[in-house]
Each structure stands twice: as C-alpha cells, then as structure tokens.
Symmetry: C2
Subunit: 465 residues, 2 copies
C-alpha cells in the first residue's frame, strides 16, 4: 500500500527529526504571514491534534493554490520533519511540496467552516461532523472503548455471539417493537377476521427488531460457558430525551456457573479495565473533553478505577433514602423502582463512588430474573455511578424450570419453548447484564446527549442519512 | 469471581500435574466400567475436546447420581489432575467429588442425545446445537476470526464505525429492502392518493433495514482516513440457497488517499493475517474440520497465506475464459458479469491461487464506482479464491462530483445530497470493499451452508428463536 505518515506517528515522536515525511489529510486552518509564509494545520483523524506545515512562498504553486486553500481542503504535504519553534506543538513539517487533492466548493458555504457550531446543528450535518474536534475525539474514544471491550472478553475466554437482529418473538418485554415486513402496504393480505395475515410475510409470521440479545445468548452460555453480545438493539419508544435512541448498541455478557455476586464482580472488573485503557490510550482526546466538555471526566473515570464498588441490598438502599432527610420528587417506599434522583443520591452523595444495588422487588423486574429465597425479591442488580446513575442492569437468571414457569403466562411459555428447554437439559446457575454502549461513551466523554455518541442517530422523526 | 479451571487450560498444560482442579461443564458422554469406575467426558466450550474425569465407585453419590448421569447433564467435578493412561488425552481428572448441577429431563428425549444429526435437523434446535462438536467449533472459530478482524484494523489505526441499521434511504441499490414501521397495519394512515402516508410513521418517512454501511462509512473515511464497519446487513431476497441469508454480518473497510491497487493490497493483507491467526489459535477446531467436514480446509488457508494474490484485468480474464476450451453454462463475452463457474475456473484451474479481478464494465457495476479513463470500465475488484469463488467485492469510489452526478439519476442526486457533499468539500481518492462474514467463516471451516455459520439464521419463512 502507499506509504505515508499518519499525523499521530509524527506527533508521537515515532519519526526521526530530519526525516522526509509525507502527510495526507484535510486543512483544519490556515494562517498566512506577511513574511510570505503560510501555516497549514493538517488533520487526518489519527490523533486529536493537527500537524503544522510551514509553507514557504517559494513553492511553485504558492500563489496559485496555497494562498487559496481554506478549511476542509484535502492536501498532501511533503517535507522535512523539524522541531517546532512555535507554541502548542513539538514538531512541524518544513514543506517542500503541497499538492491540493480536493478543494472546498465555496469556502463561505462550507457547512462546518471554522467557527463553533451547536451540537444540535451538527446533527443535521452528521456526514461532516466527524471533521470537527469534538466528533473526531468521540470517534477515536468510541473505537478504543469498543476495542477494549472486545479484547477484555476475548482474553478471558468469552465468545462473541451475534444474536439475531430480526426476531419472531414479541415477548422479551424490554420495550416497544418495530415491525419488519416486506408486505405491500397498499394491498395487505387479510384473514377472515380482517386482521393482517402475517403468515404471508417474508418470514412467514410476525417479525420485529430485537430489543435485547439476552434470551438467545443464554442458549450459547449454556454450551460455551462465557459469552457476550455486542450489537444493535432497538426501542420504538416515542422518547425525545437526551438518553434515548431508537437504535443503539448494547453489550451483554452472560456467564455460566455464576451467581449475582459473580455478575457484579464482572461488571466492576470490565468497567475498571476499559476506563483504564481509554485513559492510557486516548490522553489527547480526554484532555480535550476535560477542558471543553466536562472538567470532571477524568476524575470520574479515576474514581471508578481506584475504588472498589460498594454492594448494597435494595432494601438497605430504600432505608437510606427514607432516612436521609432529602425531599425527592418521587416518594420513596419499599417496592418502587429507583428513579434517577434516588440512584444519584446513593452513588454521588451517600457512597461517593459506584454502588451495585442488588435484590429488587420481584414485581418490578422481568420474569427471567432469579427468585430469591425470601419469595419477594429477585437476584437483579443495577450498577449506579456518580454523574450518571444507572450504567449497567443485570441479573442472575431463573434456572429452575418450575419457578420460571410460575413467572410466565401461557403465551410466554409457548413462545419461549426453547428458552424453557435450557432449564430442562443441564440447567446451571447463570447471570449476565446489559451495558448501553452510547451511554457508556457519554459517561466517558462527558457528552450530554446520546445522539452525539453514535454516528447517525435514529430518533422519533429522524432516520436521515 | 468464583475460581474454577477452564477445560482448555487443563488440556493445554497450564495446570501442574498433581494439582487439585475444579471443572464445571456438561457431560458429552459417559462410560461405566464393570470394575466400578465411570469415565465422564466434561465439556465447557473452551476447547474442542472434553476433559476426562475418572470417577471411582467409592464416591458417596456414585450409585445414587453418577451412574444416572446422561449426555447434557451439568456437573462440577473436583479432583487431582493426573497424566492420562488412556488414548486420546494427555491429562485427566481423578475425581474426588462429582456434584450434579442440572439433570437432563428424560435422557431419551434430549433433542441432541449423542448420535449424529443432520445439519438441517440441528437448525431446528438452534438453541442446543452449540453443544455439538461441530457448532462448538464453529463458535470458537467465529470468535477468533472476528477478534482477528477487529484487531487487524485497530492495530493499523482504523476506526470502527457503527453505521446505521435503520435508514431512510432506499437507494443503496445492493438488494431488496425490509421496511421498518410502527404503523398500525389495520388502520394505516393514507394520503389523498390512497397510498400509505409514511410521514405519520415513527421516523416521519420511509425506513428500511440497511443493505450496506458503505455510503455512510465513506463520510467517516473522509474525516478519519481509515475506517471500517462490522455489523449486520439485510437482504429481503426470496433466495433459498446455501449462500444467502436475509440477515448477515458484513465487514466494510474504507481507506482515504487510496486507489484500487491499495484496496487489493488491503484485502490480501487482511485475509492473510486473519487466516494465520485462526490456524495458530484454533488448531484443535481446524483439525476437526479437516477430519470431518472438508479435508482441504487447512491447505486452502495455507494457500492464501503463502501465495501472493494474482492481479488480473477483467478484460484479460474474459480472454482467458474465451480461449480456455471449457464449455461453460453461461457463455463468456466481454460485458457479462462473471458467474461462479467462471470465477472458480480462474482461481482454481487457471491461476491456482487467489486472484483479484479488476476493472469491470461500468454497465454491470454500481454508480459509485470510479470511472476509468477508458470511459468503459470502472475501478471495481473482486477477490476470487479457490474453493469458493468471490470472497470480497470492492471498488475505488468516484470522487469527482461531475462524473458521479452523470452516473446518478435525479432521485438519487436528491436523496444522496450528503453523499454529494463529500465530493464538494475536500474530496480525495478513496476505496473500500465488503467481506461477508458468514461466507468467510464457511470458507475457513469448510461448512457448506451459511445457515450454519450464524447462530440464529434468518431466511425466507424463518425467524424462529
């Protein structure tokens, strides 16, 4: 392949001073000095910073091209890598040639010309926003975080299971469903009762987008012992909030011969590991997020890395909330699901570090969570972290067929015949959790809105691009 | 977390002979000797082989439980790791305790009781088939292959871009589409013309499942330089063949400042790298595939690793096919798309190793492929490999706005306004390709049907589980 130098390699000191380098990228900015020298900031996505190229007026295309360059133009710069005299960079390129590869049509109209834009505006320019400082940094951190997650699991013997996106099952119960169909909506086939006859649809029946791969991945867990999903999931909820996407990526590990304590240990170890890797590998981007987005982000990650997570029973959490003297919007009593204000009080103010709340009332939790001996609670857990509240939700699964059956209605038992099979053939205690990848990314970067944590957000009224 | 020994670690020699170990898994088989000893083969998914546990009749639950164990039961075996006297294993466990964690309800009715099943039958038991030798091996190889791909790209500075699954665009042109909707099919909103009014649907307009992330990932390529997708894609084709799935995973790298030659180099380097990792890390599973599925699989991968891929122009390929004296089902002339028989002749018989065919007639290729100077061909490529035919398809993209516009109709130009923007603002030569992950996995394992390469296959008439 063509040999050229990533900007990151030059900035990191991988290239000897005095070497001839060729960098290829896009202009972030340009400054022309009166002395007849131009300074180009050339960016290629490989690092937070651009590299500065110092271009003398002696270049043959200086007047005809270099002076006409504007933000966004694509260039190939060749020259000697030298120590920089200027502030803000250690090295720069003394350019001996500047080739213009792609111009910007009408610099004034360039949608992301160099000035600050609102994140809201940039969502309308989702195809160009990765060229900005903020979204370039988000992209690099997202990649590092994803790679850290994949390798955390791989190195520990987990198998990545690609559970189905399209599912015939409508009973996972985690939210509203999108229907998938190839029927002609103008001439829908109908049964005698006037209902649409989906047996004539592509899959020969109902088909929806998955809300979770958990049930399916359990079947692999009970064969491979340690598994995880990392894929897109969907919610057809009409929620226009900064925390909801109709399409988002979720990580769902599942471990066999494991109980709720093992599950909490896994969640803690995973978060600590991936936060460590981000701080080690994306120091440049994290410095930007601290400076420009949220000055607590690095301390927040260090807090997770350095502190053992507290474990606390739900009932204990309720007692603390009842007796803390705070007035909450949502009243506290045993049996409620914790609201965000409760979760943040617990992790931020009462404990001051991440806390795993365990053993919730069975009536507010899903049918597949394991019933505790008290008959009132299930082995569910939420990991609450300062600054965000719930970041992980999981449970030990009900592995006893009779107890599971008692928590399912007839429709569910019929639909999930295969899930019941897992309890009939070599059932074992097992547990797992779900981690929303965009919420995790926002936690790491300090960004407020999950629409800025995924390249092309899908929300009510918007599937553009 | 609970400490117990993965079977793979014991078999690999990570544990000292004489150490006490605890393994947890499922019974693959059991043999009871007349001398009052039982031999359990315990499998936990971590390696191809089970570990043998030798259970003496002196254990307190020998008569009451051990003798009643059957294939599929979940057990925890504790004992001393010893060198094995028997054939087929180097170590075994001299059991001091066997705990039965989960029984099999009616051993006779266990759907995958120990005997050979057809792959077709096992598709109806997709929740249990990972417990078989074949599907356990497929799962481990799939994980290793996926991890090799992710890390190949990560280590070379590529960014993993999660392009949208739901898209408002119907013009990617790679195949038939699934519609995504939350409208009530019984009472569809209709416009004055009687057509369904999708402006009232969840996304405020048409929404489909993606057929490719390529167009969207190009926008990230022109900001980050090196990017790739690895995610699910969809085809609503009524194709009941061993090579088609309605839902499959695709890998799509895209590189900036790159031409078709760079693209071919990347494809070659990627395949060589990931095949090497599979042979190094999954020796046990690959030996099984060679022995039981296809005795050429290892030679085939070695052939890719050891030989430089041939490069050949499409026009040259046509000349070779016309003059080779073969009689093909589909007649050969300049302008046709190559059929599988042609592709296999070229790579298997004419060249004898992988070949990259380049520069196809523009009329048989997509609008976004770069027009060559001859005005008749585009910078497209297919990588053809012995034993499978096409394994990768890609192209250099048309980066010149005027040439691109001439290849698009008015609808396409309007719909893809943002894709045109990429050519207006700092356009650069760039290229990429698509690699179907299940087809790749079948190539590696020698399996015939892509329905066996994905955990829960989706095909016409089937979205079960």
């Amino acid at each position: 392949m063509s040999q050229f130098t990533p900007v990151s390699a030059a900035l990191r000191g991988d290239i000897a001073i005095g070497a001839t380098v060729e960098v290829r990228g896009w202009l972030r900015s340009k400054r022309d000095s009166k002395a007849g020298i131009s300074f180009l900031a050339v960016h290629d996505g490989s690092a937070f910073d651009a590299i500065q190229a110092v271009v003398p007026s002696s270049l043959p295309n200086y007047g005809s091209e270099v002076l006409k360059l504007s933000t966004g133009c694509a260039v190939v710069v060749t020259g000697e890598l030298v120590a920089s005299q200027g502030k803000g960079q250690s090295v720069e390129i003394q350019a001996s040639a500047v080739e213009v590869v792609g111009w910007v049509d009408d610099a004034e109209a360039y949608p992301i010309a160099k000035k600050r834009h609102t994140f809201e505006y940039l969502r309308t320019q989702a195809h160009l926003r990765p060229r900005t400082n903020t979204f370039g940094a988000i992209t690099r951190v997202r990649t590092t975080l994803a790679n850290a997650i994949h390798n955390y699991f791989f190195e520990r013997g987990f198998h990545w299971i690609n559970t189905p996106i399209i599912t015939g099952s409508d009973c996972e119960g985690a939210g509203e469903l999108f229907r998938v169909s190839t029927l002609d909506a103008v001439n829908l086939p109908r049964g005698a009762d006037g209902q649409v006859d989906y047996s004539q649809d592509f899959f020969g029946g109902d088909a929806f987008l998955t809300v979770s791969g958990q049930l399916e991945v359990e079947s692999y867990c009970l064969a491979m012992s340690k598994v995880y999903t990392f894929g897109p999931t969907f919610r057809a909820e009409n929620s226009n909030t900064s925390r909801h996407l109709a399409e988002f990526w979720m990580v769902e590990p599942e471990i066999a011969f494991a109980d709720l304590g093992d599950n909490a240990d896994l969640a803690e170890d995973l978060l600590r590991h991936v936060f460590t890797r981000v701080l080690e590998e994306r120091e440049d981007d994290m410095a930007f997020f601290r400076q420009r987005i949220d000055d607590t982000v690095i301390d927040r990650l260090r807090g997770v890395i350095d502190n053992r997570f507290e474990r606390m029973d739900y009932s204990e959490a309720i007692r603390i909330l009842e007796n803390c003297g705070e007035s909450f919007e949502f009243p506290v009593r045993w049996g409620i699901d914790l609201a965000s204000e409760h979760e943040r009080y617990l992790s931020e103010r009462h404990i001051g570090r991440p806390v795993v709340v365990m053993n919730y009332p069975k009536d507010i939790k899903a049918f597949y969570m394991r019933l505790n001996d008290d008959g009132e609670t299930v082995a569910a857990m939420d990991v609450l972290a300062p600054g965000i509240g719930e970041i992980i939700g999981g449970s030990q699964r009900e592995e006893r067929l009779d107890v599971l059956d008692a928590r399912m209605d007839a429709h569910l038992r019929e639909e999930l015949w295969w899930y019941r099979d897992l309890r009939r053939y070599g059932t074992v205690p097992h547990a797992g959790f779900g981690l929303g990848f965009e919420r995790l990314l926002n936690y790491v970067t300090g960004m407020d809105n999950v629409r800025d944590a995924i390249p092309f957000p899908r929300t009510p009224g918007n599937a553009a691009f």
